[in-house]
């Protein structure tokens, strides 16, 4: 396993931490507790005294510091990849990740300076997931399992379902971000029914956003079950596909449960944040499965001709 791959995985982990910190900022309504940017109450952000990390400042300032760490790590990733990676498209991916994290930082600053306008805040939340995907992709394609030449599954149906699922999850994440940043999280305060009905008896913009997120959950659930079901039925012996498929179902169950508890707990901040973070894990896992379903299309791979279930030993250990 290359050190670059290990480094990319570290960046993925720190990005999950960053998404957690960002989730806590919104969940605790602390987004404007540090009113200036890039400074912190006039201090240079890295010299802001720890004793002053009180109340909402703790969440907002720690989010900024973790974001800075992710930024520095991404610079390292881009430079390192440029130096050692032979595949141009991988180098470009790393630079794209750097561009995304810079833009993400600017969006984060702008949303503070402009007092959390929903379009910027939603863009910040949506770009966070794109950046997360980029880091996952770099980590995946630098893994030994991906780089190893050999025969791979060529399953067009799986590719189609997986792409749809990943796209649906992203749309669902955007709907969730819209709900969070427009204050529609409790627009329908009951679960599983909406005011005692399958469909809300009254409609307002907030109720519509909230209901769209619930309807999206149904679509995503169906898509994930279809993907996982397909892998179980046709690619059960492919560990690199089966593992993310099972993980996806596990994360899905967790996500639906957390979503219910967000409403029932009246948006308790840690439950709310767990829902955001687990949503990112659902998205990331689906992306891994999707990318692996496309591995046969990349250089160094040949379509697997052997019957399903007979796997050459060399293909069993994808990272």
């Amino acid at each position: 396993m290359s050190w670059l791959h290990r480094y990319a995985k570290l960046l993925v982990v720190v990005t999950v931490l960053l998404i957690t910190a960002g989730g806590m900022v919104t969940s605790t309504d602390s987004g404007l507790s540090v009113p200036d940017w890039p400074n912190t109450y006039g201090w240079f952000m890295f010299s802001f005294p720890f004793s002053k990390w009180v109340g909402g400042i703790f969440y907002e300032h720690s989010h900024r510091l973790i974001a800075s760490s992710v930024g520095f790590l991404t610079i390292g990733l881009a430079v390192w990849t440029a130096l050692v990676e032979s595949r141009r498209w991988v180098r470009n991916l790393a630079w794209l990740a750097l561009g995304a994290v810079i833009l993400q930082g600017v969006l984060g600053g702008l949303t503070v300076l402009f007092l959390l306008p929903p379009p910027i805040s939603i863009g910040h939340a949506g770009l966070a997931q794109i950046f997360f995907c980029l880091t996952i992709t770099v980590a995946l394609v630098t893994s030994p399992g991906w780089r190893r030449a050999g025969a791979r599954v060529d399953d067009p149906t799986l590719r189609r379902i997986a792409v749809f699922t990943t796209a649906a999850i992203y749309v669902q994440i955007l709907l969730g971000a819209t709900m969070r940043h427009t204050g529609a999280g409790l627009a329908i305060p009951t679960f599983p029914l909406a005011f005692g009905h399958l469909l809300p008896p009254v409609w307002t913009p907030k109720i519509a956003i909230h209901f769209a997120h619930r309807a999206g959950a149904v679509v995503v659930t169906g898509a994930i079950l279809a993907t996982a079901g397909h892998v179980w039925a046709h690619q059960r012996d492919r560990r690199e596909l089966l593992r993310p498929a099972l993980l996806l179902v596990l994360f899905l169950i967790t996500q639906v449960t957390l979503g219910a508890f967000v409403v029932l707990s009246r948006k308790q901040p840690d439950i709310n944040t767990a829902h955001v973070v687990n949503g990112a894990l659902v998205f990331g896992t689906s992306l891994v499965l999707t990318l692996r379903s496309f591995r046969v299309k990349f250089a160094g791979a040949t379509a697997l001709s052997a019957p399903v279930g007979i796997v050459p030993d060399a293909l069993g250990a994808h990272s």
């Binding site: 605790t28 309504d29 602390s30 987004g31 404007l32 507790s33 540090v34 009113p35 200036d36 109450y41 006039g42 002053k52 009180v54 109340g55 909402g56 400042i57 703790f58 007092l115």
Partner: protein
């Protein structure tokens, strides 16, 4: 006296322009010789929910400033009346009168990690001085719908800043995002006929010219009530607003 109960139950998040258009070119000062007075009391029918206990553990300074703990200030009653209700003439003054804008500032103090006062009224263009009297950081975040939103920090004890509001607006929520329990409300009107109920839930609007007025009483959790009052020359009218405790929201 002509007093007609009109409506009630608006949400605490509702913010509206206090209807009082700019004075006409021939507008005049109120004639003190004929001016009257509208006073009264704000009551509550029923039992109000208890104010939630504030958890201040996230800031040791706040915790130290309130060793006996603190509860939210939403419902304050005394002598049978409800305090912190903003009462003002919502409609009826038209463009007939001109009022000088006070230059003396109204103070909103952040002390003990709470706002003092919790509800206040100011005139359009009147300075509002916001003070940090705590040894901790506060941010001052105003969330108007008509006026300009702002958010700035006051990290040091003794810091003062002055703001003015350019449009009538009842009410403008103020909050501190550092300490999520800190809330205050500012009513901005273009005339001097407003009050915040104090001890016993009483209010007093003086030097009101004769006319027929819509008086509104606003409470952060109980919504709004309005009454119509007709005031003759030198009249003194008594008005009682009674909020239903069952209208309590946000608990």
């Amino acid at each position: 006296m002509s007093i007609a109960f009109a409506c009630g139950g608006g949400g605490q998040s509702e913010s509206q322009k206090a209807a009082s258009p700019a004075a006409a070119p021939n507008a005049k000062k109120v004639d003190q010789a004929t001016a009257g007075r509208i006073s009264g009391k704000v009551l509550v029918d029923g039992t109000l929910p208890p104010n939630p206990v504030i958890k201040m553990a996230s800031d040791p300074v706040c915790l130290h400033a309130n060793p006996n703990g603190l509860t939210d200030q939403s419902y304050v009653t005394s002598n049978g009346g409800l305090e912190n209700v903003f009462v003002y003439i919502k409609d009826g003054l038209g463009q007939e009168y001109v009022f000088e804008t006070p230059t003396s500032p109204v103070t909103l103090d952040q002390k003990g990690c709470t706002y003092h006062p919790h509800v206040l009224g100011v005139r359009v263009g009147q300075p509002v001085q916001i003070v940090n009297s705590d040894d901790t950081l506060h941010n001052v975040h105003a969330m108007p719908e008509t006026n300009q939103e702002f958010n700035y920090g006051q990290p040091i004890n003794g810091m003062k800043s002055t703001v003015t509001f350019t449009q009538p607006e009842v009410m403008i929520p103020i909050k501190c995002d550092v300490h999520n329990w800190m809330h205050a409300y500012i009513g901005v009107v273009s005339h001097p006929y407003f009050a915040v109920t104090g001890d016993g839930g009483t209010f007093d609007l003086r030097d009101v010219p004769p006319g027929t007025y819509t008086i509104e009483a606003w409470h952060e959790k109980l919504g709004t009530l309005t009454q119509t009052v007709t005031l003759g020359p030198k009249d003194q009218k008594q008005v009682t607003f009674t909020f239903k405790a069952s209208a309590a929201s946000g608990n």
